[in-house]
Amino acid sequence: MSDQPTHVLLIEDNPGDADLVRLRLVECKSAVDVNCAGRLSDGLASLAKDVPSVVLLDLNLPDSRGAETFRKVLEQAPNVPVVILSGQDDEALALKALHQGVQDYLLKGSLTSAGLDRALRYAVERQALLRSLEMSRKQQLEFKNQFLSHVSHELRTPLTCIHQFVTILLDGLAGEVNAEQRDHLKTILKSVNQLGAMVRDLLEASRAESGKTRIEPRCVSIADLIHAAVAMMQAAAHEKGVGLEVGVDTTLPFVHGDPDRILEVLINLLDNGIKFTPAGGAVTVKACAVPSDPDFVYVSVADTGCGIVPEAKALIFERLYQDPNAVDNNRKGLGLGLFIAKELISLHGGRIWVASEPGQGSTFSFTLPLYSLAKLLFPVITYQGCLRDAIVLLKVDLRPQSKPARGNWKETCQRCLDILQRCVYLDKDLVLPPMTSSGPEQTYLVVASTDMDRVPIMMTRIREQLEKVADLKASGELTLSAEPVTLPGPADPLDKQVQEVANRVTEMARLALGPAENSKSARRDAPIAQREPQKMENGKWQIIKS
């Protein structure tokens, strides 16, 4: 340790004990200065101002006792070494303190000057070591991520080259190919695609590990996603002679999830199921609501394959795990698929698990949270235990003028949504998760805690901000409209009132977005009074033009 004086913050309420500690510290050979606080609140205030070398902490203070005391100090200053100085010889408490990050637990009775000096110096050293270990772990993780990102980029170039020329040969662009050659080329293409998927998984897993995976939840139909995934895997199943069956409750409610990521999970599970099921077997996807767990939808992918041994069940979602006993004619993957699936489902707030017996097949199940408007609305439309005085539903329609390139328009809409989210009040307005629309038109809905008189001001603000999106002005048309939400009577419990508002908003949104079949023509003919500008009637959309 250097010759720099050790700054000790002593948090101790007993003046006698404080003096004793001070005395012992002064007797030490090392240079020490002591700052004393008699209450936890004073100690925390001092920690907020400047950082001592070490905190000496009594647990029983006028404003805090026991474990609560060190928990608060660790929370306030997680990087400062904390040494407890206690009158009670409580081994259980001492261990608990150490597990939570306290460096040492000393007893007041057996305090010698040399012992205290050494304990403090070692506490400082240990804390410094821990910090540098943590830093180097973070650096290594960062380095590994950069390396993987670089590698997967470099691998993609030769991979692309093989992919391109194989498809050129297969498509006959370089002359006729006979049937046998075609088969070989298809095998190459299949392997190239596998390699591409592995490169993608590598990057995805490293991202998941460092908490950089992002999801963009919306209101989505799980039934549609299952049908899409099954359609994508049908060819592979057919080729292997494995049946692919779907059992989806058609009345399933929407879930709150990222459609691309859920599709990824489904495809991964289906791919595994098909891979481990012998010809003549079947893979079945089911989705249903479970009455005992009403906030989630349950999805399962069951196969009639070789099953999983009990020891492997706990490990199967770990990174890089591969069943060493799996008898499989196919190539193994990297062992990242289920790890990524677990990360994605957890990010959605769901669970994923497997039930299996060796030789009896496996059933992978996961849950996804239901899209609950009431849950999203509750903090926004209630204030101090009551419903807000007035609630309005705003509709922001974006319509492209001519048919632009899809990348551009999609990007324009996304930017408008970002801006919209930024120009509402987070505590009293809610931008509803966008519905997936089939056409280029995009409608965003905002539930706003305001009354119709103030809507024009809000709309002017939104319009001014949205029109800053250059492409929107150049290539699209913006229409804003609003309709008040009729509020339920105050007699019901608050939960019920919020649910009632959610139901009304849902019904209004359904009308606003057109009939459930989001075919373009149906949407355009939706019975919304949007072609009657400047006209205000109860229950009709009021268009605000700037």
Binding site: H153, R156, T157, C161, H163, Q164, L173, R406, G407
Partner: protein, 130 residues
């Protein structure tokens, strides 16, 4: 009417050749550029109807090319499709924000790429390939 002309910007000669074969088979004419600097020069000289742009390029990467195309009155109307080995999570939004009409990660699905090329090409400038 003449075929549409597409400028391929990629530093990898094999990838340029593959893309050229694929585009010619779909009745597009192609011209090449091998780096960021020549991309702008060739775009000036050849006035392509569309540019397929790699991001990792010597002498000015793809984002610099996008920026220079956007700033140039004569070139800013040419649609650009980004085709790169880079990770979409870090480059897709940035490419679209910089003015690209679409983003594809390599290896791209041929049918999808051709469909987006068709949809992105300015209408009425040349005969549409069948």
């Amino acid at each position: 009417m003449a075929n549409h002309k597409i400028l391929i910007v990629d530093d990898d000669p094999d990838l340029r050749q593959a893309l050229r074969l694929r585009l010619r088979a779909n009745r597009y004419d192609t011209v090449n550029a091998v780096d960021g600097y020549s991309a702008i020069a060739v775009a000036y000289k050849e006035r392509p109807d569309l540019i397929i742009l790699d991001l990792g390029l010597p002498a000015g990467d793809g984002f610099i090319v996008l920026d220079r195309l956007q700033r140039d009155d004569k070139l800013s109307t040419i649609p650009v499709i980004v085709l790169t080995a880079r990770d979409p999570q870090s480059s897709e939004q940035r490419s679209l924000a910089a003015g690209a009409a679409a983003f594809f990660q390599k290896p791209a699905d041929n049918a999808e790429l051709l469909e987006v090329i068709r949809a992105t090409l300015p209408k009425g400038t040349a005969a549409l390939p069948s």
